[in-house]
């Protein structure tokens, strides 16, 4: 193969991995990194390296399953673990992702308000545009839009550089692990990992690879796609932490959400850095608002055996399109209703995600080791130690996060 045709093959295959990993940094992710940077400076940067490794290990297996079987993850779970398991999993995932979608619309509304745009105009507008994109567009168009949007994340890199950090210190913090025995520190550490590896990503990645119809002989390119995506997304997380750590941490400014980060940046890093941060937040939110409902529609349809795919029309895949439409419409509406209990919904959603993650990961691991399904593409023995190890660590951390979210909340409720 000539160099050019090789490049063409490469370009035609990349996409799913990069997109999935990027959307990892949705409104919730950006909030976590901003808060972490403002609260502990560069101290948490080192967590990104093990997180990236874990992310690559998990995503690679899921991508491999998509390439080898041509089926989505919930396809496989339904076919191998039956109706009951699948059914309850789907219901929990639906509720969890509903919360995530709301969080993304809330992020979109918040970033628009930074620019003085009314959310009552911008939320319906945004919802309508992303609805149009998926229901009327083809897979390729959606993918290109998402890929371009993924590139926009580099705005965070620029705003990080604009904040003029002390690079020596940054590098040292990234490579040398530091820890503080403080509940807030531990919680933020786990939150960074928890927001990076989510249940819906596994479903979305495998489905989009299956829909793209990537062949086994091109699996290496797909693997590269996954690795590039995972590294990219964590480079961006890195710069979000750096930005907030350089500008907000020395001044002791505590923030609770990403919107505050964008606003607080202005006096220290300048108007442009602040605006850039806000634009990136808007971009991340809208991207999440496209992909999370899309992932939900994918796995529900796969589990029940209905036709699914962006390439299909309303007539060919009615259930798929309606689930997508309903999720967007209801989430957008809820964000606009004054005093809607958004925070409770979002907390519940992250709890449900935390409960689900172990199940999804264990199922994925069992499936990827099933010879009937994977044939010679099943996990090599050595690799299995790494992947089971990763999954066990993730499960322990998620369980810890669950307990920590649950307990202070209960305290608040009692107090």
């Amino acid at each position: 193969m000539s160099r050019w045709s090789r490049l063409l093959v490469f370009l035609s295959i990349i996409g799913p991995g990069i997109i999935t990993a990027s959307i990892d940094n949705d409104a919730g992710g950006i909030t976590t990194y901003s808060v972490a940077g403002a609260r502990y400076g560069y101290m948490l940067l080192w967590t990104l390296i093990p997180t990236t490794v874990a992310l690559i290990v998990i995503q690679e297996m899921v991508a491999r399953m998509g390439v080898v079987t041509g089926k989505g993850l919930s396809d496989l779970i339904r076919e191998n673990y039956g109706v009951k398991t699948t059914f309850f999993m789907m219901i929990v995932l639906l509720v969890a992702n509903f919360g995530t979608t709301i969080a993304n619309f809330a992020g979109w509304a918040a970033s628009m308000e930074i620019f003085g745009l009314s959310k009552y105009v911008m939320v319906p507008f945004g919802a309508f545009m992303i609805w149009l994109l998926v229901t009327r567009g083809s897979y390729r168009i959606v993918e290109i839009v998402l890929l371009i949007a993924s590139m926009l994340y580099f705005g965070y890199v620029i705003s990080g550089v604009m904040s003029e950090p002390d690079w020596g210190e940054v590098l040292q913090s990234a490579l040398v692990p530091k820890a503080k025995l403080e509940s807030e520190f531990i919680m933020l550490t786990i939150a960074i990992i928890g927001t990076t590896i989510t249940p819906w990503m596994q479903f979305y990645l495998q489905s989009s690879i299956a829909e793209k119809g990537i062949k086994k002989e091109n699996y290496k390119v797909s693997k590269l796609d996954v690795i590039i995506g995972c590294v990219m997304t964590d480079v961006i997380s890195f710069f979000i932490i750096v930005t907030c750590a350089t500008t907000l941490y020395p001044h002791g400014i505590r923030i609770n959400e990403a919107k505050e980060a964008a606003i607080s940046l202005a006096p220290f890093a300048g108007q442009y850095a602040s605006a850039l941060f806000a634009v990136c937040l808007a971009n991340a939110s809208i991207l999440g608002a496209i992909v999370v409902p899309l992932a939900t529609a994918y796995y529900i349809c796969e589990a029940l055996g209905w036709e699914a795919g962006v390439n299909k029309t309303f007539k060919e895949a009615p259930q798929f399109m309606w689930i997508y439409t309903a999720l967007i419409a209801i989430s957008a509406l809820l964000v606009l209703i004054p005093n809607a209990p958004l925070v409770i919904l979002m907390v519940m959603s992250s709890l449900l995600n935390g409960i689900l993650l172990p199940f999804v990961l264990v199922f994925a691991l069992l499936l990827v080791n099933n010879e009937r399904i994977m044939g010679k593409y099943k996990n090599p023995k050595g690799y299995n130690y790494i992947s089971w190890g990763t999954v066990v660590v993730l499960i322990i951390l998620t369980a810890a996060l669950l307990v920590m979210t649950l307990v202070p909340d209960m305290n608040k409720l009692i107090g």
């Binding site: 076919e79 109706v83 059914f87 029940l304 055996g305 209905w306 036709e307 699914a308 060919e316 009937r372």
Partner: protein, 419 residues
């Protein structure tokens, strides 16, 4: 092995299988399926007891229903068994599989598998692809049904007959339909009749009500007379009259003859006069005689009509008539000759019909027995037989398709069992 009606596999799973002493051999885990004619059949049950699997051959199964499954052999005679990948198991290989359309598009998933007693075998008769199947698997079918009833709705049944599914191979990853999904909803009337005969009467009637009256009119005569009768008695009057109006007069007459007098009269009164009159005429005859078999929709022209004019008229009249190959030549209602469509087309258009018609006629009278009619049609290789009264007036024709049903009594609806 006694016959049973229809069962769903999910209702049988985890049921204990008892030996003649009443000891438990194990719980139903799966079913081995092998090719069979016309449907695949269950060749053995896989049982599970204390994590070990056993195989119980179908010949050794005693009672088999959703309350009791029994074995004719005692437990020590059942060998431990590990099913290989090469054999086909319902739960392992068919449950939850994707069903794709003839063109490869995903349609539905197998939510459950239906078994049906056929002779001494349990055959795989269909796959449940509806919500009902999912609810049954979740063990909440009855509860959901009551819930639906409270809302005044019925839970839809959605079963794809096995005959629409391509033969299975071991290690399959999906099932394919043999014909496009679209066509399953645009079934041939005979297939619709097949479906109606194979579900409970209630479901059959519900299904029938949803049909377009034109389709219903074609499907109804394919059913057994008893079933036809109960359907017509059950559906509402307006829909019934719409359907009867669209039926061939001879078939409508057969149906009305089976109904109670009041009901038949009520129906006759509600349909259009012209159709009602045709049916009334036919009703006067015995069912197993030429008069009862005949239809009064035929093409008849006067002898002086030219072929050209006849063909023009034919183009209009042929829409209505059941059998169009023969054109009857009638003078003052009296049958004087017959010609065929072929002859009309092959002769010069300016000739009158009287020039080309055949005058040596084979006819029967209305009280001729159907057997004799069949023999005559068969002997002279005719497509239709004119029925004339003693004055020689043409009353109607008996067409070959009505005769085939008599000659082959096993072929049509009689073969369909109703449950």
């Amino acid at each position: 092995m006694p016959l049973f009606g229809e069962l769903f596999v999910s209702e049988l799973l985890k049921m204990p299988v008892l030996d003649p002493k009443g000891d438990e051999l194990g719980k139903v885990k799966d079913f081995v399926v092998i090719k069979g004619d016309p449907l695949p059949r269950v060749s053995a049950l896989i049982l599970e007891e204390k994590k070990k699997r056993y195989c119980l051959e179908w010949e050794n199964v005693g009672i088999f229903n959703k309350r009791i499954i029994s074995s004719k052999v005692y437990s020590p005679r059942v060998e431990p068994y590990e099913p290989s990948d090469e054999i086909l198991l319902i739960v392992r290989d068919i449950f939850d599989k994707q069903i794709v359309d003839a063109d490869g598009a995903k349609v539905v998933r197998v939510n459950d598998v239906q078994l049906e007693g056929l002779r001494n075998d349990a055959c795989v008769s269909g796959v449940d692809v509806g919500v009902r199947g999912i609810l049954r698997r979740l063990g909440i079918e009855n509860k959901s049904e009551r819930f639906y009833e409270m809302l005044g709705k019925t839970l839809p049944r959605n079963i794809i007959r096995w005959s629409f599914i391509q033969p299975l191979e071991p290690r399959l990853s999906k099932l394919s339909l043999t014909i496009p999904r679209q066509m399953i909803s645009e079934l041939h009337p005979a297939d619709i009749a097949d479906i109606i005969s194979n579900v409970t009467q209630e479901q059959g009637i519900a299904f029938f009500k949803g049909l377009d009256p034109d389709v219903a009119a074609e499907a109804l005569p394919e059913l057994s007379p008893d079933l036809q009768k109960s359907i017509i008695e059950d559906i509402d009057k307006d829909y019934a009259s719409e359907v009867v109006e669209r039926m061939e007069p001879d078939e409508a007459a057969d149906l009305l003859a089976d109904l109670e007098k009041d009901k038949a009269k009520e129906l006759l009164d509600s349909i259009e006069d012209e159709d009602a009159q045709d049916i009334q005429e036919l009703l006067a005859h015995e069912e197993d005689e030429a008069g009862g078999l005949m239809t009064n929709e035929f093409i008849a022209y006067p002898p002086e009509l030219t072929i050209h004019d006849a063909i023009e008229k034919f183009k209009v009249d042929a829409h209505e008539a059941e059998s169009v190959y023969y054109i009857y030549i009638v003078e003052n209602e009296k049958l004087i000759g017959i010609t065929t469509l072929k002859d009309m087309i092959l002769h010069a258009p300016d000739l009158p019909l009287s020039e080309i018609m055949e005058t040596k006629l084979k006819t029967v009278s209305p009280d001729t027995n159907q057997r004799v009619v069949a023999e005559t049609i068969s002997k002279y290789n005719l497509l239709a037989m004119p029925v004339v009264d003693d004055k020689g007036d043409l009353l109607g024709i008996v067409t070959i398709d009505d005769i085939v049903d008599i000659l082959l009594p096993q072929s049509s609806w009689k073969k369909r069992r109703s449950v």
